[in-house]
């Protein structure tokens, strides 16, 4: 595990275009003797020459190692630059960093995933990881449901992945904010899908998406009776070091890069978090 400022080199072995803005970059470390392990929810610092670094959550399952997927949306300088790169190009990575989702507590639970846009990336790692474990051990999880919101039908990312999940028994329900095409599915915000979900005491909810979405989904889950300890989200922040030193990701006395990015609602409630303030 790389905990210095010197990145390890990795090759882009494959690029999967998820939609116009998002692509998944499949990486493999060049020096295979470097020990590398992670858990779903952790992130990497990705280096692109001349563009610096950015924190990107890992979207593949640890079970897919040595391959590491980073699903990246074009947002700033670095993320735009990687979208111009090709398979065979080299990037640098440091990490993994951060606290993962508590996958060890998911046995026999009903997992509810609520995602918006690129927010599906960190949850994808959990879903793949849980599917793998269900295939080898009984009761790894009880059930999995995905509620996934996109802006328009054209913005839906991870289409083929979602189709595969559907085949493997994950209950995937998609919605779009608005449509101008012949979209047959749901139209509306992802929160509109929540009332149809049968929430029980056995539900663990994992939420990731834009800050406003997280806020409303969490509020609604709480209103439906989901306990604070059973709601998890992963926060996005400006990050530079990944090791709790640079200070950019500060969150009321905590550092998102070491104390998060995964937080339970009960943890968030003890903090002063912009996403949830009025």
């Amino acid at each position: 595990m790389n905990k210095t400022f010197i990145p390890s080199q990795a090759n882009i072995c494959e690029i999967i275009h998820e939609n116009e803005q998002i692509a998944t970059f499949r990486l493999e470390l060049i020096n295979k003797s470097i020990p590398f392990a992670f858990l779903p929810g952790q992130f990497l610092m990705l280096s692109i020459p001349h563009c610096g670094e950015a924190a990107i959550s890992i979207s593949s399952s640890p079970t897919a190692l040595p391959l590491i997927d980073l699903s990246i949306r074009k947002a700033g300088k670095l993320t735009n630059a990687i979208h111009t790169m090709k398979a065979g190009n080299q990037v640098g990575i440091r990490g993994p960093f951060g606290k993962p989702f508590p996958t060890e507590t998911f046995a026999n639970r009903d997992l509810l995933f609520v995602a918006g846009g690129i927010g599906l990336a960190p949850l994808k790692s959990v879903i793949d990881y849980s599917l793998f474990h269900s295939s080898v051990e009984k009761d790894a999880v009880q059930s999995m449901t995905l509620l996934y919101g996109s802006r328009t039908p054209l913005d839906i990312a991870f289409q083929s992945t979602v189709n595969n999940w559907q085949k493997q028994g994950v209950d995937c329900r998609l919605t779009v904010d608005k449509t101008e095409t012949d979209w047959q599915g749901n139209v509306g915000l992802v929160t509109d899908l929540l009332p149809d979900y049968k929430l029980t005491d056995n539900t663990t909810a994992l939420v990731c998406g834009p800050p406003v979405m997280i806020k409303f989904v969490i509020a609604q889950l709480s209103a439906m009776g989901c306990s604070d300890e059973a709601i998890f989200t992963t926060l996005e922040r400006h990050m530079k070091c990944g090791m709790g030193t640079c200070g950019h990701c500060h969150l009321d006395g905590k550092m998102v890069c070491v104390d998060g990015p995964v937080f339970s609602l009960s943890q968030l409630k003890t903090m002063d978090v912009m996403e949830f303030s009025q």
Binding site: K3, T4, F5, I6, P7, Q9, S47, P49, H50, C51, G52, E53, A54, A75, G76, K77, L78, T79, G88, N89, Q90, V91, G92, P210, P211, E236, R237, H238, K240, C241, M243, G244, T245, C246, G247, H248, C249, H250, L251, D252, G253, V258, D272, V273, M274, E275
Partner: protein, 351 residues
């Protein structure tokens, strides 16, 4: 066998001692330049340079351990391959004439840069350093180190601590390198007698009595432990913060930094670490434009809570060392003492 922990150095022997020390290491001490600014700098010519022990150095030791800009690695891109080279190693350095507050700050930085693992460049420099402090017999006008527990004299942390007794220095040695030095150069020193001890104690009491500022640091920390700060205070402070970053740059305990690539040419560049300031809005703004901190209201919230609340919770001690530098640099007049005053006077009003 004499006790090597505490010794007396005649002022006549100061330069001879420093001359010896300089043979094995870089010597850095405060020097006043021709514009009247006292700054730490390397002493090349010990006879031709006057070390200024009368004025407070305008900058702390921070730039020597966490430089304003430093290279973390240089990188080369060859045929699409991307390789990094770490920077050169630090040299042995002795810092002389360091004030108590600045050493306290350095001890705090040691904590910050030790997690989760030791920051390579910081600890490289730190391991090659020895700090000789000078206790303050006369606090400077903006100082309040007594309120922050970081002066005027120190109990630990130094290599050597000098206390000016007039014609001589009372020298205390810390563990390790400091004690070794004292042993190695013992012939410059003499033993401490009862009168020296008396004088040192007397000066310590006098120094403590000479602070002109009464800043309620401990009161503020305890208040922040229990209560949330009224939004009006944050808003008032934010309106007056000019976002110049000056407070963070002169602060000896502000360690936030940024990492960027500096392009040298198409194939070469430097990965550089630069000081950053949490008062600026770009500090937290993300690539997509979303910003979890609203600068117009909370420009200074993180700065003051970090020093007085989070660090108090974590280390039992505020990470302000009372050096007073931010008071002079802030042109909005919203330095940490303004905040502490606003916070603590508010309590007194409320029954």
């Amino acid at each position: 066998m004499i006790d090597l922990k505490e010794m007396i150095l005649s002022k006549d022997n100061l330069i001879p001692l420093l001359r010896k020390l300089k043979k094995d290491a870089r010597l850095i001490a405060p020097v006043q330049n021709k514009y009247g600014d006292t700054l730490f700098r390397e002493i090349d010519d010990i006879d031709g340079t006057e070390i200024d022990l009368h004025n407070q150095p305008q900058a702390s030791l921070k730039p020597f351990f966490l430089p304003q800009q430093e290279t973390l690695a240089d990188y080369t891109i060859t045929n699409g391959e991307y390789s990094f080279t770490p920077p050169a190693k630090a040299e042995d350095t002795i810092f002389f004439g360091v004030r108590s507050c600045d050493l306290t700050a350095l001890l705090y930085m040691d904590l910050i840069f030790s997690k989760p693992s030791k920051d390579p460049t910081y600890y490289d420099r730190r391991n090659h350093s020895l700090i000789i402090t000078l206790g303050c017999n006369q606090p400077f006008p903006n100082c309040f180190c007594e309120a922050t527990g970081s002066g005027p004299y120190l109990e630990y942390g130094y290599g050597l601590q000098f206390i000016d007794l007039g014609d001589r220095y009372f020298v205390s040695a810390g563990r390790g390198k400091g004690a070794d030095l004292l042993k190695k150069w013992a012939y410059f020193f003499r033993e401490v007698n009862e009168e020296d001890q008396q004088k040192r104690y007397q000066l310590f009491l006098e120094a403590r009595g000479q602070f002109t500022r009464n800043i309620q640091v401990a009161h503020a920390c305890r208040k922040l432990e229990k209560e949330t700060v009224p939004e009006e205070i944050w808003e008032k402070l934010s309106r007056r913060c000019y976002d110049c970053g000056g407070c963070a740059y002169v602060c000896p305990t502000c360690t936030c930094f940024s990492i960027d690539d500096m392009i040298l040419d198409a194939k070469h560049g430097l990965r550089i670490r630069t000081w950053d300031a949490c008062t600026s809005s770009g500090f937290t703004r993300m690539a997509g434009g979303h910003n979890p901190t609203d600068r117009s209201r909370h420009a200074l919230k993180r700065r003051f809570l970090h020093k007085l609340k989070y660090d108090f919770e974590r280390h039992g001690k505020a990470s302000c060392t009372g050096c007073g530098r931010c008071i002079d640099i802030c042109f909005g007049g919203v330095d940490i003492t303004t905040f502490i005053d606003l916070l603590t006077t508010q309590t007194q009003k409320k029954p």
